[in-house]
Amino acid sequence: MADRAYAVIAGLAAFLAVLFVAYLLWVTVANTGETWSTFGIWGFVSGTTWNPSEAVYGALPFIYGTLMTSVIALLIAVPASIGIALATVVFLPRRLRGPVGGFINLLAAVPSVIFGLWGVTVLVPLLRPVLDWLSETLGWVSIFGWQPFEGPVTAGSYLISGLVLAIMVLPIITAITREVLLTVPRDQSEAAFALGATRWEMVRHSMLPWARSGIVGASALGLGRAVGETIAIVMLLGNTPGIFTPLVGPGSTLASVIALQTGEASGLQLSSLTALAVVLFVIAFIINAAARLLVRRSEAGGSGGIVRRAGSWMVRRGRPAPTADAPPEPPPIAPDDVGAGGPQPVPRTPSLISGPGAISRSRVVRSRVAEGFIWFSVLLGLVPLVAVLVEMLIQGLPALSVAFFTELPPTDPTSYGGGIVNALVGTLILMGIAFLVAAPLGVLTALYMRDVGKSGSWNSRAGSAVGFIVDILLGVPSIVVGLIVYLGIVIVQGHFSALAGGIALGVIMFPIVVRAADEVLRLVPSGQQEAALALGAPKWRTTWSVVLPIAGPGILTGILLGLARASGETAPLLFTSLGNQFLSTNITEPIAAIPQLIYNNTIITQTPASLQLAWGAALVLVAIIMFLNLGAAILGRRSRRLEGRA
């Protein structure tokens, strides 16, 4: 009987989650109807004009801008990420590997608006001469009429946006690549070393082939992140839609136009903005689905699975064997650094193992060049990080004091002092709501997928459907979540509120919690549960007293990671919790949040004093996120240890 109740509760949670997603989907469909019927789906997607004053809406320039900035970002971020990951797995001294990896992960904790601010105030002026030089020397370059470097160079540009975006997606690509590289079995690297490979040759011939699909997957995940990036792009791209416009000039993306125009839009414009969100969602979905497929495939059984699949194809076109049955001649090797070939061992001169002649010059050069590139990547990743952190410390530390945590922002934006107590409390309340929304629902949904959604064909189909929905949610850009929650809750309810903001953050957090919980639950050894079940314990009891205690730290890790992700979000809050200059704890009223306070103090009003407050707030936010990530890492380590014991 109790088992029945357990199934019902878990099922209800999963059902609730599905219902909510369905509701948001319905809201989206209902809101985009006008656009589809006015322009047609293809007409909208291929439309090149976006002009609210003439009520003409086309998505193509934004699709172009989104893809172009993301591609530039990936072109920079992927090689750099691979380099950094290799450095932290192979090339750095062992003592430095962990710290450098962790340091790069820090970048993920810096909120988007800070990157935007850093880009605008530091990077744009710094790189100005470079862009000017590019436009002067390469301005004539024309690719089918597209002149990527044609001036004039503007403050907002594809290149700068792409660069900042690259820095922003670097941590995620690096982290996953690193994980993938660490799964390369030791015997693979030893095989290469034992054949006399240098470190780079080992990497090139044994690590990278093994990790290739995982790296491609990691890059695609980074791409998924890049297309959804909002605030930094709003601040850095110049918001001027265009197709095949110069890269040193401005553009616009799907996410940034949604962020900029939703606040004032209604009617067909709001409908079209929602339609842009749908387009963005579809792009992100395709990318994420591909990425997940690749990462999962490369994680399952190393490259074996891929190889076997590719293998059957390759075997068929295998080349015919030489017909010679006669004993083969000794291979006519003409070595450049070996005395003679042939099967007979030849005593080698001592110079073989030492001295300058030991390995050929071209090998040394190649390996040096490759390692040089890897060090350059590490530098590329570390320099912006250090720059942003140093900037944040220099600018933000003077703001920090006891009053910073107890007082409201100053009445006059030009005066120094004051604090961010409203935003600090607001962020904590928003995170609390997000936690209450996402954690119980998320864990119950994961339990449903595991315990209930596997018995019976209907249930198992429902279970995998829930899993699919969770996977989809995982890839939804936060700006899209914000817009949909705005349509589905704020407008319906008729008021901006902390509740709406918290729910938006909860929607972002929910799939992270489910996935983390699901993965951890999978790792609980089935023997343990069978032992409990064999003692006559009901299923819910087994789950409660056997499975959850083992999986608990892992699930908490997922929850903390979800909170960390949600707490840095700005875009979804702009349309939901609105902001509040006072200390409010009423969840039905607008509420302040740290990312939003930073946004307001940099984009809406900007004075030296407001900037100082913003940098200080950024410091606090990064500290909160770091704290959450650290907690997650410690718990994660503990749960891994448990797993090892089990």
């Binding site: 062992r94 079995p185 030791r186 015997d187 030893e190 095989a191 290469a192 070393f193 034992a194 054949l195 006399g196 490979a197 240098t198 011939h205 082939p209 093994w210 290739r212 190393g302 490259s303 074996g304 891929i306 190889v307 076997r308 590719a310 293998g311 390759m314 075997v315 076109r317 295998g318 080349r319 064997a321 030489p322 010679a324 083969p328 001649e329 000794p330 291979p331 006519p332 090797i333 003409a334 070595p335 450049d336 650094d337 070996v338 070939g341 042939g342 099967p343 061992p345 005593p347 080698r348 001592p350 073989l352 193992i353 030492s354 001295g355 030991a358 390995i359 050929s360 071209s362 090998r363």
Partner: protein
């Protein structure tokens, strides 16, 4: 214990140190330093050249002393088997012979290993060149799974940048695969990924791959422990064949195997947990198994211990 060791080479190398952990009990220290092995294979006793020789070799994992003071000579065109109970340091000693040991975090070695009279741990010695001259085959077959069979063979020559034409490559592939007794099985699918071969075939491919760089010495770390009896026999045949051309050092837990394939045998053991592994006795295989001088050797080879 075999599976445990298989894991150590596969996964976190630190686990290896676990095998040698334990309380330090230096009680037998004196006896050993004064006594030493009962019978040693000395360079002077060997007729003919001996490409590889270890002198007073010590190996450590961090602060754990895992191999102590080993002196051993490996004659040309012979198979030397290293036997002993798990954790006695024989695998570690083997990995010291081509400087693979130092790849494990915290691992280091002291003493001399001479290859053709030159110290591979010398100041100028390049580990990359050392490993090229002293090849290695591992416990678990580890072909590059994404590379084709042919490319696995060519991987080593590629590293060493041997220049050869297309025909030269084809000949090398055929030659080494024949040498490893794999040619007839794979000649029709040289472009297929190596991951698709069976375990025994993969191991022979690994041997072929090691042969393709023309090493002077081939180290084999329990090369048959992950294989079925049929494949094991094939590999053993192969080892005997290969020993006509180069020196082979093989670590094995299987004493029949040692007896079947090797001319010389070296017995390692540890006094107790936490002590370093030491070389107890070496000699012609027949004598080690038939007439061991040291009671511990006798206990081990007759199955009363280990």
């Amino acid at each position: 214990m075999t599976t445990r060791e298989a894991r150590t080479t596969m996964e976190d190398p630190k686990v290896t140190t676990g095998d040698t952990q334990g309380g330090a009990a230096p009680l037998t220290q004196v006896a050993v330093t004064s006594g030493g092995p009962d019978r040693l294979l000395r360079a002077e006793e060997i007729a003919g050249p001996h490409p590889l020789q270890a002198r007073d070799l010590n190996a450590y994992f961090g602060s754990h002393h895992v191999v102590e003071g080993v002196n051993l000579v490996f004659p040309e065109n012979t198979v030397t088997a290293l036997i002993g109970p798990s954790g006695c340091g024989k695998s570690t000693f083997l990995r010291c012979l081509n400087r693979m040991h130092e790849l494990i975090p915290g691992a280091r070695a002291t003493g001399d290993v001479e290859l053709h009279g030159q110290d591979i741990y010398g100041k100028d010695a390049d580990p990359v060149a050392v490993r090229r001259a002293v090849g290695m085959v591992f416990q678990r077959p580890n072909p590059f799974p994404t590379k084709s069979i042919a490319d696995n063979i060519l991987a080593g020559p590629k590293f060493t940048r041997l220049k050869m034409g297309k025909g030269g490559r084809a000949d090398l592939i055929e030659h080494t695969l024949r040498g490893a007794g794999l040619w007839d099985e794979v000649k029709n699918r040289l472009d297929a990924p190596a991951g698709g071969l069976s375990g025994g075939q993969q191991q022979r491919l690994c041997i072929a791959r090691a042969l393709a760089v023309e090493p002077d010495v081939l180290l084999m770390d329990e090369p048959c422990s992950a294989l079925d009896p049929q494949s094991t026999l094939r590999i053993e045949d192969l080892i005997r064949e290969l020993s006509e051309r180069l020196a082979i050092v093989i670590v094995t837990h299987n004493m029949q195997q040692a007896a079947r394939v090797s001319e010389y045998t070296a017995f390692f053991t540890i006094e107790e947990e936490g002590q370093p592994g030491r070389l107890i006795e070496t000699g012609p295989t027949r004598e080690i198994f038939g007439n061991p001088q040291n009671p511990r050797t006798e206990a081990y080879v007759t199955g009363r211990f280990g």
